[in-house]
Every structure is written in structure tokens, then in C-alpha cells.
Amino acid sequence: MTDHAVPVGGPILTRPFKWLMAIFGLGVLLLIWRFLAGLGATTALNDGYPWGLWIAFDVVTGTALGCGGYAVAILVYILNKGKYHSLVRPAILTSALGYSLAAFAIVFDVGRYWYIYRIPLHFWQWNLNSALLEVALCVMAYVFVLWIEMAPPILEVMQEGSSPFFRRLAQTTLPILNKSMVFIVALALLLPTMHQSSLGTVMMLAGQKLNPLWQTPFLPLLFLVSVVGMGYAVVVFESTLSSFFLKRPYETEMLGSLAKIMAYITIGFLAIRLLDLLYRGAFGLAFTSGWLSFFFWLEIVLFVASAAMALSPAVRANPGRLFQMAMLMLIAGGLYRFDTYLVAFNPGPGWSYFPAVPELFITIGIVALEIMIYIVFIKRFPILGGASPARSRA
């Protein structure tokens, strides 16, 4: 914790940023259309495939990509590896963004969004048997917790700011926040453990519609384990990217040891995945399920490739290769989620789904928004540690 986080500084409205704004603007227009015309007009969703890209990517994969904060917090706060501390803030920021936008995606995915407020409030109507309820409540709570965790850097800026009101606010809240951090961090570890596993439980209810290569009582455990691996990969990914774009030194050594941890977790994941298939006698399906077999093996190959790369010292010493390793892992974990929620989901003959163009562009717009907020945050608030702001503009 010797190195202090500092704002990167520099102009916000760069040319790439304006491009992102344009992409997001298009998404907003399409979203307005979605609300006026309904889901049928703007998506390819249907009664056989009631969940599509928005659930499989924005929500399920999006929150998994938002688990960098969770994965790093396990290391720093539970396994007491203080050396990773400088990774905490950027990781929490990506988590806060990933989760907030996943929550937003739920708002435009559900058909009767005007009743959403009841999910957290109408507790007497809760169906405690519903895994989706558990996911919904936990995700909402976690978004809240993540932004509390993001408060210190914002307050630190206020403390130095010119407005006396905000200065006072920061001076009174910061110590309280710092004192209660133990409770908040513990919550920030508990909530993802709960809802990331429940995201697996959710699809258990799809029963026979989900191909037996994916349908298993181990879905919750598999979702949980793979999300931790993805969490470390996200940190490697994001740290390398910001070093590259902001011309800061790479944190190769630290990311390399993260990669090693990620590799062990991935090996654990693969072991559970394969043992479960053998135990259920479903392994044969890996060779007889046509194009689903292909997707199954693609997943396995991606996981194995990324773990193998992470175990090689040469890769771990090289920022570029580390980045490739992280990408492979994110694609592997993302594909596993896509397969479980979409590809291996088969409601029966006669149904098909492929995302419609507006659906796609809304998702792309959301990603653009996420990147824009990230840029604003690291430039204006003390998120990234290490290098001095002067060097970053070199």
C-alpha cells in the first residue's frame, strides 16, 4: 500500500471518446424504440427462446466480467496478499460498472419493467424458491455495495476540491467509511459468492431443455469457480490495457502471479466439469451431439489453452502474451455462460434464435457507455496506482 492511487488526468473528449459517444447514442435511440414498440419489434426473442443476448451477455457474462473486484478482494482481504492492493481500486471500478450496467440491462430486458421496483420492496410477495429472486436481490445489493466501495476515491477528490460543502461531506464520511470497511468488504465477498453460484442454479430449472453436457446439479459450483478464474483474467486484461493506452509501466510481475492462481482455479474447474460428466455418464455426448459437441470442445480447448499459457513462466514474463492468456480465459468463461444460457438451450423443434440487429447494437452501446465511464473515472479520480500523472502523459 506504499504506492498511492492518483488520477491520470488529461482531456476527456478525445476522438475515440467521441466515437464511443456516437455508438452509445445509437444504442439510446434503439432503446427508445424498444420501449415504444415492444420486445417483439426490436429483438429476435420468441416463446421458445424467451432469453437471448441481453440475458446471456449483458447480465450473465457481464456480471462475470465484473467479478474482478471479487476475485482480487479474495486475495487481498482473505488470503492476505497485500502486494495486490494496488489492483483493488481499478478492479472494483470495473466491477461497479459491469454490475450497474447489467442491472440496467435487466430493466430493458424485462417486459413489465414498471413493476421492477417491487422485487426489492415487496418482500411479502417473494418466492424464496426462486433462484432468480436470489440473483436479483443479490445483484441489486451488490451494485450498492460496490458503489460504497468506490466512494473513498470520489470523496478523496472532494476533500481537495473547492466546494466547502463537499469538503465537509468528505471529511465526515471518509473516516466512517474507513471504519466500516470490514463489514462492507465482507458483504462484497459474500454477495457474489451467492449470486454467481445462483446464476448456475437458475438454469437447472430449464431441465431437459438444457443439453445434458451442461445441465448438472454442479452448475452452481461450476459457475462460481469459473467466475473467480474470469475475475483474475479481467484484472490482467484491464491492467494491461490501461498500461498500454496510458503509456504506464506494465505490472507484469504481479499479473503473472495472478495468472498462476487463475491457472490452478481453471484446472479445478475443468476437473469438476469432466468428473461430473463421467459420473453422470454423459461424457459420450461430447462426441455425439453434433455442433453442440463442437461448442463443448471449444470451451474445453479455450480453458486448457489459457491455463497452459498461464503456467508457462515465459508467458507470465511477457505482457503481450499475458494479455492473450487473459483474453482466452474471458472468452472461455463467456462461452461457457453463453452455451449454458443460449447455445445448449433447446426448447424443441421449430424454435430458433439469433440476436436481431437492434438487440446487438443496444448491447454494443452499453459496452461503449461502460468504457466511457471508466475513462472518465480513471482520468479524474484516484483509481490507478503506481506511476505519476506526469509520466502518464509522456
Binding site: D109, I119, N127
Partner: protein
């Protein structure tokens, strides 16, 4: 470093124990028998002549607008499957051996319904007489019920900006008025009949016993997927999978996932234990760190 390792190990042990305490175990769910006031329907495919009168009657009973199906230059009220304005449908089956049959589909009113287990906020519930109805004042339109229902029954009005879930509710509005479901009222061959669940089950068993040659030797819904309040009989030689019904086995569809869910969250004990464990470890680590700092100059 020594202190570090020990606290870390201890942390893992505590957290692990909390997770183990939440593992699946003695959490068997209670069985879901038919409620004492349960009503149901019995569809006998050997009697159905495919006239589709019930499809029209269902539309009228539920005040649904006619379908506008464009076919070969004309427009017909001729839906090809259940949809946002069709709660009941008759389809034909034809086997390679020339055997043929009709098949009626609508909600099965499961004894242990997957859709009810799915719905976060109790919009779908087993209400009076065990009928599964949809409450529009609760539904948020998440469509998890559609993902969950093994019979693909709940439909969504995709073309509407203010959409609904549409499914057969066994004409509960008519039953409340002392009438019987529209489809059962009009069937000219009594291929689909309405009655008390127990009576219908006895009737189905009776038909099987009296005419074993006429029927496929099984009552669909007696046990399938935990049992359903709508029961089916099929012609000899035509299985229920031929007619498009899934082979679910006798276990209720929501059983396994709910057992896991209950094991992990019963009384919220496991999460609470895990929370305290996590908090303790974090606090100890922080304290160790602070002490370490003091010791070092």
C-alpha cells in the same frame, strides 16, 4: 510471513466450513400431492375427432381476439401453435405406420409447477382448486416461467409495448361462476372433460382397465413431472412422446434446483455464518497488518 500464512489458512478453513455446512444433505422437499379441492381435465385422444371446437370456445371463454393467420392468400383464424392469444390448440400426429391421432395442449396445471417455482414475485401461483393462474398486478415480465415450463405453455405477447404472460388458467373465472371450462363445455365427443381431480384419475384408470386394447397403457400426468391436474390418455400404439409430451420421469421438475437452493439458504444460516467468517478473517488480517507496521520501524 508466518503470521500471514497462518491467518490465511485459518481464513480458508473457516470459509470452507461455512460452505460445507451449506452442502446438500438432509434437505428433502415435501411431496406435493393434489390439493383437496383440486379440479382437472381429462383428454382422451381416442375420442377426439380434431374438430377444434374447443379452440374456438377457449378463445370466446377468455375474450381473446381471433388470430389472423395469412395462408395461401387468405386470412384464417388458424393458429399453428399456442401463442400470445391462443391458450388451447389441437394438433395432429401421424406415425410412419399410418397411425394417427389428435393432441390437445394447454397448461397441465402441474402439482409441483416449474413456472411457479421460477416466478420471483408470485405472479404465477397455484391458487384455488390447484389451478395455476397469472396475476398481472405482480408479473415483471422476466419470462423465467417460459424458460422453466417443460411443456412450453406460458406465452408472451411480444408484439405489445405493455406485454403479458398468457396461458390456460382452466377458465378459473368461469369456475368461480359455477360454470365449467369453455373447451370441456363444447366438446361434441366429450374427448375433454372437466371434474374433480380424484374422480378424473379414477375415471382414467377405469377406462384403461375396461379397454386395455384401445389405449396406450399409461395415464400421462398421473406421476409425470411430479403429476399434473390435466390427465391424458392415448391410443394404443401411440406413446405420449409421439404426441409431443416430454419424457420427464416422476421427479418434479423443480425438485433438484430447489433442494440445492434450500440447502444453501435455509433460514439464511449458511450465508450469515459465511458473512461472519469473512468479516472475522478480514478484521484479523487488518489487525495483523497494522501490528506488522508498528513493529517495523
Amino acid at each position: 510471513m508466518g503470521v500471514d500464512r497462518r491467518t490465511a489458512l485459518k481464513g480458508m478453513a473457516v470459509a470452507g466450513a461455512a460452505l460445507l455446512a451449506s452442502g446438500p444433505g438432509d434437505q428433502a422437499r415435501e411431496p406435493h400431492p393434489a390439493p383437496s379441492d383440486a379440479v382437472g381435465m381429462l383428454y382422451d385422444a381416442t375420442l377426439c375427432i380434431g374438430c377444434k371446437t374447443c379452440v374456438v370456445a377457449c378463445r370466446e371463454a377468455n375474450h381473446m381476439p381471433p388470430e389472423r393467420t395469412a395462408l395461401g392468400g387468405g386470412i384464417y383464424d388458424s393458429p399453428i401453435s399456442l401463442d400470445g392469444q391462443t391458450r388451447n390448440i389441437i394438433k395432429a400426429y401421424e406415425g410412419a405406420d399410418g397411425k394417427s391421432s389428435y393432441m390437445k395442449s394447454q397448461c397441465m396445471h402441474c402439482l409441483d409447477p416449474a413456472c411457479v417455482g421460477a416466478c420471483m414475485i408470485g405472479a404465477l401461483q397455484k391458487r384455488e382448486h390447484g389451478i395455476v393462474t397469472w396475476d398481472g398486478s405482480r408479473c415483471i415480465g422476466c419470462r423465467y416461467c417460459q424458460v422453466a415450463c417443460p411443456y412450453l405453455i406460458p406465452k408472451f405477447t411480444w408484439d405489445k409495448a405493455i406485454p403479458k404472460i398468457v396461458k390456460c388458467e382452466m377458465c378459473s373465472q368461469r369456475i368461480a361462476e359455477g360454470k365449467i371450462p369453455g373447451c370441456c363445455e363444447v366438446c361434441p365427443r366429450s374427448a375433454v372433460i372437466f371434474g374433480k381431480y380424484d374422480d378424473l384419475l379414477a375415471e382414467a384408470k377405469n377406462r384403461l382397465k375396461k379397454n386395455p386394447d384401445r389405449y396406450y397403457p399409461k395415464i400421462f400426468g398421473e406421476k409425470d413431472g411430479g403429476g399434473t391436474q390435466v390427465l391424458y390418455l392415448s391410443k394404443a400404439g401411440i406413446s405420449f412422446t409421439d404426441l409431443g409430451l416430454p419424457a420427464l420421469g416422476d421427479t418434479p421438475v423443480p425438485e433438484l434446483s430447489q433442494e440445492i437452493q434450500h440447502a444453501a439458504y435455509k433460514g439464511f444460516i449458511a450465508p450469515a455464518v459465511l458473512y461472519v467468517a469473512l468479516g472475522t478473517v478480514i478484521w484479523r488480517n487488518k489487525r495483523a497488518e497494522a501490528q506488522g507496521k508498528e513493529e517495523k520501524p
